[in-house]
Amino acid sequence: MSEVAEKEVKAPKEPLFSKKNKKLLTDPLNDDNPITVQVLGICSALAITVQLQQAIIMAVSVIVVLIGGNLTISLMRNTIPSRIRIIVQLVVVASLVILVDQILKAYVYDISKALSVFVGLIITNCIIMGRFEAFAMGNKPWPSILDAIGNGAGYGAILVIVAIVREIFGSGAISFPGMGQIKFLPEAVYEAGYMNNNLMILPPMALVTVGIIIWVQRSKNPELIED
């Protein structure tokens, strides 16, 4: 890992959005998705996808923490002794999460209450520790930021898809932060006998939804299939 880092330092100036850097941004959205391929950060992804607005707030929080953390760790990467690096990483994440938590409590109190312990659990979200270990410890700040944005967006994309599916089928509505829930099915549909599928609101259906997303993704991209 350190060899790669050194080579990059010596390499001539590369443009801000070179091919390699673009790959850092786009890979995690599909082929290297943190949730469906790397299997990281599942805990929070499943528990807060009942409503779209919660999922969006959560995704934004994770992206912010990931960018801040990746940047900090990448700047400090040459000074962190490798024996205590886990503790250092945990402290960096924990301080960033405290900031995010206080901001959420101040501006979107309702959603912060609904997210309950899951904001705090961003600290132990495996995506964050995983990116620190796998990327920020061995790369320069700018690629680390791109990597953080890419992985955060890949995580957010799955969160948003699962939340949209669950909210549309579960409550017949869709919600955005700041706008509340919008019911788009007219009353007549319910009068004709349609019912919301309450099963979709229950936690286990999040797992099944993610399972189906994985199924679709892998049948489109056979390289990802496990033996």
Binding site: I42, I86, C126, L202, L207
Partner: protein, 210 residues
């Protein structure tokens, strides 16, 4: 005593860490390929939850909670010690306690119980970043247990619930290797769906008043 048993049983079945809150899913999915490793990690989680939840409970009640510092000196602070609220520090304190306890436990187990270390050793470092441990501490804070005994019962119960879940899924995964699962669904996908189905089964415990 009955109260403690109630909390213990409720934490195992009704509020199961995996099936009701999805905590610790990362290691649950990664380490559940065989029953043997599942048992090892599950035992380590029971162990660490049983130790860290009571310690974090003491920290919460004697340092972090609003007015918790009063027992040292009631005159502290601008308006007296009962107005000092350090609860915004709880994330960083809890995670620091967990990380250091895990390190300590690892060293103590290595010194005094080498056989146990052989079985749990490689799993202990994994546990510091297992969501279920921090989740246990945060739920303990949210639910405000009355005594340290209740907090311990909750911690142990959550650990046992997690243990049951990982052993069950590991056993199913060992068997399912011989079934005809659609190719793209193999491995991760089918594990997700099975966990979902098990979660629905566990929901039959919901609403049980103990």
């Amino acid at each position: 005593m009955q109260e403690l048993v109630n909390i213990f049983v409720k934490a195992i079945f009704v509020d199961n860490m995996i099936f009701a809150y999805f905590l610790g899913m990362c290691s649950y999915l990664a380490v559940s390929k065989t029953v043997k490793t599942g048992i090892g990690l599950g035992a380590a989680v029971i162990f660490v939850l049983g130790i860290t939840v009571p310690i974090n409970y003491l920290l919460e009640n004697f340092v972090l909670k609003e007015g918790a510092l009063e027992w040292i000196n009631p005159d502290w602070g601008v308006n007296g010690a009962n107005t000092i609220d350090l609860s915004f520090l709880s994330f960083i304190m809890f995670i620091a306690v967990i990380a250091s306890i895990v390190q300590l436990v690892e060293m103590i187990v290595e010194k005094f119980a080498p056989a146990l270390y052989g079985a749990l050793g490689i799993f202990l470092p994994l546990i510091a970043v297992n969501c279920s441990i921090l989740g246990g501490a945060l739920f303990m804070q949210e639910r405000q247990y009355a005594t340290i005994g209740e907090a311990t019962a909750f911690g142990l119960g959550s650990g046992v619930g997690w243990f049951l879940a990982i052993v069950a899924i590991a056993a199913i995964r060992e068997k399912i290797r011989y079934s005809h699962v659609p190719k793209p669904l193999k491995g991760l996908g089918i594990t997700f769906i099975i966990t979902g189905l098990m979660g629905i089964a566990f929901m039959s415990f919901m609403g049980i008043e103990l």
